[in-house]
Amino acid sequence: MKPGPDGFMEYPMNPTGKNEWMARPQVRSAHRTLVPLVANSPWSQALGPTHLAWMMQSEPLAALPAASPPDVWIVYRTNPAISFWDTETLGAAMARFPFVVCFAYTRDETNHVADVLLPDCTDLEGLQLLRIGGTKYVEQFWDYQGFALRDPAVPPQGEARDFTWIATELAKRTGLIEQYNQAINRGAAGVRLFGANYDFSLDPAKAHGVETVWNAVCRAASAELTDGVESDGLEYYRGHGFRVKSFPRLHWYLYPKLVSAGLRFEQPYQERLFRIGKELGRRLHEHGIDWWDRQLEEYEALPHWRDLAALWEGALARHFHVAIEDYPFWLITARSMQYAWGGNAGIPLIRELSENVAGHGGIVMNAAAAARLGISDGDLVEVRSPLNHTRGRAVLCQGIRPDTLLMIGQFDHWATPVAKDFDAPSMNALMPMLLELTDATGSSADLVKVNVTPLRTS
């Protein structure tokens, strides 16, 4: 936390000044051009309008450069073919990519189209030092922060290789070994390898083995936690599992820091937001971009109430030329605690556990609303949005609004082992990617209007 020049906490917004604004995006999501709030960290593309990159594959946006497909698309532990909105359009875009490389530990819907599969270890087979604790990017509050080792529990199966081995080989074969090592030295593996009184940097000129890389990372982690006093490496973490130091509870919250730095609170009147919104609007209009005007309305110092339901209904009706009354239900989703981000969808034990929690594998629906439509628990129903349709079993309960349906998780798998047999619906295929429903931060919501038709009784 650093004080900014205007008395607020400093925040590295993407610049909107006349001479600093990035008129020509360097990446397909155009986050530095359109969304000052997401800043420009490695995470910013994911925070910004990711779907613009996919939308522009089929429909260019005025005054932005046409988005070409990537020369090489490298996929690491993600499965957008089932986990993004409008999966049909997205799949079509993926199919046009000339060369796709996927890290893979199992078959899935995205690596199904890969030209090259890189056989990655599973988490039980690979080596990695992970940051634990603290409050940044995690939901829990911890009294400690530090590092834990994920040490291989079993040898790699088949041709699988550790991620670090694969990445090093790629760097070596593409002539990028020096830049690769320098990136690791700067902290690409989670820890900067040098500090004020220690330096465990890797020799940039050489290709290093997996254990050499992680031994250096472990030593730097020990030094980071002890201000350079300790430098225990991989063997220490293998013996102890983790290393932590205390994390004061005062650091759990921003407030004491703001007070101690004498900073102004930015709410309720968000003066800075209002200012950058005005600036961004001028820059965009100067370059002939008016398709972001609705998003610009959100840059308010004091936000007004907006009828989001009407916004959604109007956008769907206009875009798909439908009578929105024919779609009386709101379809939403929720993350499953058991499946988390979905990377464990192929593990039968997770499937077993999730069955203890209501709603998995079906369409959660209010019991009274279902009764009005003649739907009983377990009945097969079709859910149709203006974009697409899917089907699944009705899971009736009381704790959901009568005008709302819920499809937990994203289980539209057709290739991933185990998950492809779930026969569970996903809302992703039903969700359009619409500029009109994109907010000022580049996000939207997992929300669409649908209707329900019983197909047969259970």
């Binding site: 605690m337 593990i347 039968p348 077993e352 203890n356 209501a358 009736l396 009381q398 704790g399 009568p402």
Partner: protein, 528 residues
Amino acid sequence: MTRWVMLADLERCVGCQTCTAACRHANATSPAVQWRKVLDIESGTYPDVTRSFAPVGCQHCDEPPCMEVCPSTATRQRPDGIVTIDYELCIGCAYCVVACPYQARFKVDAPGFAYGAVQLRSESAPEDPHRLGVAQKCTFCVDRVNYGIGLGITPGVDPRATPACVNSCIADALHFGNLDDPDSNVSKLLREHRHFRMHEGLGTGPGFYYLHGRADGAVALPQAAPISALGSIRAKGVEPWLQSSWDWRAAANFMGGGAGAGLFLLAALAGLAGIPSDPLALVALALVAAGLLCVGLEIGRPWRFLNVLLHPQQSWMTRESIAGLAFFALGLAAVWSGSRTMFAATALAGLGFLYCQARILAAAKGIPAWRDPRIVPLIITTGLCEGAGLFLAAAVMVSPLEPMRTAAAAGLAVLAAVRGVVWRAYLDSLESGGAPIRTLEVLRAFHLWFLLFGLLVPIVLIAAAFMTPGAGAALCVAAGSCAFAAGWALKLVLITRAAYNQGFALAHLPVRGSGAAGPSVKPGWAMQ
């Protein structure tokens, strides 16, 4: 003294099932065998709806009904309260499974694998073969507890000596410790919180406590308004479900046993009257033997069948076996010797066998339709009625028994009437005392059929037989067959269709944020 107990804080549990996964891994149970799991309970009607999560598993009761019924003494209780199973003694009869009102016991007959029939390399050491075909359940991770005691560390405090589920809990909702130590973690938590134990009215004294609010917080809502009706609750896995441990083979034991014991009694009475009835006695013995053979096909470890005799102090199954042995030994001796005294003694052994069978069902606390005390006279009277039905039919078809026909017909009419009265009393008792809704639905649907073919038709046919001597024989055969068949149908229904288990219930819903704990919830039950 030490009494190990577990606590689940309903306010803290988030239903993540991490404890379930930890238990599955730590104990290497087969797929879908969850010694520990977390229930997802929704109660109320929109918009006034509450969702609660409740960890369940073996409650390590003070008075474990599973231990009482176990015929082999495989289930025991340590002085520290942990209920254990000796896999080498267990015969796999699953009596403990139906006796447990917490649905905590499992029987796995063949190893299961994560990906179905395919055994992965990581599953080269699957289900412990000693655990196949026998009962299994949560052990409170007794090996970890023993390890900790051996090291002098405190179970429930040191993770090395603490059950895997407690160690894994992400929300600090599960706790384990010594109830007899007033300074233990669990004793303090119990002092600080309001708490209840599940199904406490059954008198099992569970070693598993549910916390549902601070002791100094608002007074919990009374339990007078339970939310129990089906349809207002999402209750899969919570409301009672049909037990599957005892199927038609177990039912056949009660069918053959009751009819055989009843038939032998009447054969013995005929013998006492000077009418030879050896063939009927042999048929009666065969019926009982066939029933026992059927149940033998159901047990997981049939070659250990002699272990069934190890628990005469408490187990009605052991007592049934002893009575059965006496019945066969005396019966064969009676037929061989023709001794009336032996016949009488065999008949008494048969009655004892029948009584034990009735008590077997009554001792199964996990099945509300069985544990009602009126099941005892019902099983006995229907056994006698079935025997009388067979005897009447035999009295028509076997000429030496002809002189007994009138008495047999009159006796059958009386027994059928008594059985009808006992059945009505049994059904009324379930209706008034509370029972699973599905159980009542099954029994209500069966009620008219049973009264028709088990009472009305036999009595009408017998009356008609008295009034129309020409057709009397056929009418008596029909009456006897009807009374007999109705009895067998009753047992088949009781064992395989009406035997819904106890299900789960919470005496209070947890406090949410602030305020009072909610009312009780007992899904799938008809309450008075």
